[in-house]
């Protein structure tokens, strides 16, 4: 565990950042955005056989307001790009994105007029999963990588500069 606990008398001492990261990394609720065959693998990873809930992806949110990880599984057509952008904008901070499969990463085999060549040019992506489609193990591995990333994050430090700016402006 990332923080030290001193037991007795009901006390718990830890760095606030580590406490926040502990909570965030153990509840990355996914938003399944399945548009093609990768969505089937994602369903398989979420279902009881592979059981993504073991790693904290407990509740699949079907609203962007109540989720942390946007899992884009499948081909994103150019017609769909504004929808994807809007869903990402609707998600509340903190938010992360996993691009599942060749199509979401780079357009895959569909180098055509209708397919967007990789969602990385539209929204920021944290983890890319190669494969066409990747196996459920691949999706679980990506989730573990994302959890590593969340644990190494500095959520308060990022806000510090903003806080300093605000304080100086108040002076």
């Amino acid at each position: 565990m990332g923080f030290q606990a001193i037991q007795g008398e009901g006390w718990l001492l830890a760095k606030a950042e580590q406490l926040i990261n502990w909570g965030r990394s153990r509840s990355p609720w996914p938003f399944p955005y399945g548009t093609a065959c990768c969505g089937i693998e994602l369903m398989c990873a979420l279902a009881s056989g592979y059981d993504m809930a073991r790693f904290g992806a407990e509740r699949v949110a079907f609203t962007p307001r109540q989720c942390d990880v946007l899992i884009v599984a499948g081909t994103i057509t150019k017609k769909m790009v504004p929808v994807l952008k809007r869903i990402y904008a609707q998600m509340a901070e903190p938010k992360w994105v996993i691009a599942v499969g060749a199509c979401a990463c780079s357009g895959g085999v569909f180098r055509t007029y209708s397919t967007h060549q990789g969602i990385g040019s539209v929204i920021p992506v944290d983890v890319y999963i190669p494969g066409c489609p990747p196996r459920p193990e691949g999706i679980l591995y990506a989730l573990l990588k994302l959890i590593d990333k969340i644990e190494a994050d500095h959520p308060l430090y990022k806000q510090r500069s903003k806080l300093v700016e605000a304080l100086e402006a108040a002076k």
Binding site: K78, K79, V81, P82, K85, R111, T112, Y113, S114
Partner: protein
């Protein structure tokens, strides 16, 4: 009476060409008689189901034929070339099915590049609505009298018709923008 004979009887003089390949029958009919022929096939021929409407762009085929003709002309100038209008570039195929007898029929219509309009057959089969919209979207063939002739697959502001052979596979850089992108 076999299907071939029945179709021949129903179409009569409207029949331009009839080919049979492994008992699949394909007929070609003139553009102007489309609605009449199809409604007769529905009423008298028993074809009560419209499976699909397909567009075909024969651009390369006809260009090749033209080049071949030109080569031939250079080699043997004495051979008289058949004069006439160039062959129509597009084709629209109506795939019909009879649910009672389980028979199928292809009906082809040629659409020249100069006059890219066909009458709608939504009056015959209401199911023709979306297939006709798809053909319009992909090939730019307009259907006169269609109740809602908008693009089906591409977004409304899209320019061009992607399944035409002279449209590049990777597109012309079209992107979709919606109003809420600005906010």
């Amino acid at each position: 009476m076999s299907l071939k004979e029945r179709v021949q009887e129903i179409l009569g003089s409207d029949l331009i060409d009839l080919t049979e390949f492994r008992s699949d029958i394909c007929v070609e009919i003139p553009k102007g008689r489309l609605v009449h022929v199809l409604s007769r096939l529905r009423e008298d021929g028993g074809f009560d189901f419209l499976s699909d409407i397909v567009g075909i762009d024969n651009l390369h085929l006809y260009e090749k034929k033209k080049q071949k003709k030109a080569k031939k002309g250079q080699e043997e100038e004495s051979e008289p070339e058949r004069q006439g209008p160039p062959p129509p570039r597009f084709e629209v195929v109506y795939l019909l099915l009879s649910l009672k007898t389980n028979e199928r029929l292809q009906v082809r219509v040629r659409v020249p590049e100069e006059d890219m309009e066909l009458p709608t057959i939504t009056t015959v089969w209401r199911a023709a609505n979306w297939p006709e919209r798809e053909v319009f979207d992909m090939f730019g063939i307009r259907f006169k009298g269609h109740p809602n002739l908008r693009r089906l697959l591409m977004w409304d502001e899209f320019q061009g018709h992607p399944l035409r052979k002279d449209y590049p596979l990777e597109g012309k850089g079209e992107e979709r923008h919606l109003n809420y992108d600005v906010v």
